[in-house]
């Protein structure tokens, strides 16, 4: 019975918080990290080198 109670949310506010979408930390917005052309080239070369 104690285990069942532990699955109940502590409040409705907490429930709403669970439902909100954000990947990880609120300050992390992946869309802010647009790779430059040079970065893209470097990453793709890095991937090809690693895979062989």
């Amino acid at each position: 019975m104690e285990n069942t109670q532990s699955y109940e949310p502590s409040s409705d506010e907490a429930l709403l918080e669970f439902a909100s979408i954000d990947d990880g930390n609120n300050s992390v917005r992946f869309e802010d990290y647009r790779p430059t052309v040079n970065q893209t080239v470097a990453w793709l070369m890095e991937i090809e080198e690693a895979l062989g």
Partner: protein, 191 residues
């Protein structure tokens, strides 16, 4: 508080479970977060454009043959966001582990294959070894490129770990073991 304050967590265990109430609540969450989804789609398209541009320059023979499947990008990301919503709705968590953010995204991309390459039999046979190699693993390379983009967002700079992840994730994809949990484990055991 808004009228969306519906206590659905664990409600399916109760006798008076109302499916429609849960469904409308889920739909409202989808509506609220649609701008975030839309923004992520735009950035995936940006990444795909850069990816294609690089390989068109590298392999001029393929320049008219490679394209982006925009429906696949939308579909794959929609499935990812759907996962995230349910993940947070039914489990007492607030933030998602970065390994899972990447692994769930990649796993849907491997299913939806956003990079399309259209070649006839004779066109394929006329390609060189490197070009054939690329055509066969274009979507794997794209998945790894997207993974690298996410890692940069997390300020993950350990070069040794990144190389390990490239090999491990590509192995899991190629051997058809690309379930999110498997890829998340690869991140957890990275040096």
């Amino acid at each position: 508080m808004s009228d969306k304050k519906i206590k659905i967590y664990g409600s399916w265990l109760r006798d008076n479970y109302d499916y429609q109430e849960t469904k409308s609540y889920l739909d409202s969450i989808h509506d609220e977060n649609y701008p975030r989804f839309k923004s992520r789609v735009e950035h995936y398209e940006f990444l795909a454009n850069d990816f294609i541009k690089f390989y068109k320059e590298k392999f001029p023979n393929l320049s008219g043959k490679i394209s982006i499947n925009y429906a696949a990008i939308n579909g794959g990301l929609a499935r990812y966001f759907n996962d995230v919503i349910h993940y947070k709705l039914w489990h007492p968590i607030i933030y998602i582990n970065k390994a899972r953010v990447i692994s769930y995204s990649i796993s849907w991309l491997t299913i939806y294959n956003p990079i399309s390459i259209s070649l006839t039999k004779s066109e394929y046979e006329s390609l060189g070894k490197e070009e054939r190699k690329f055509t066969l693993r274009a979507n794997i390379l794209f998945c790894l490129y997207v993974m690298r983009w996410y890692l940069n967002g997390f300020n993950f700079q350990n070069q040794q770990s990144i190389k390990f992840l490239y090999k491990r994730v590509s192995y899991l994809i190629q051997t058809n073991q690309f379930e999110p949990k498997n890829i998340a484990v690869a991140f957890e055991v990275a040096p």
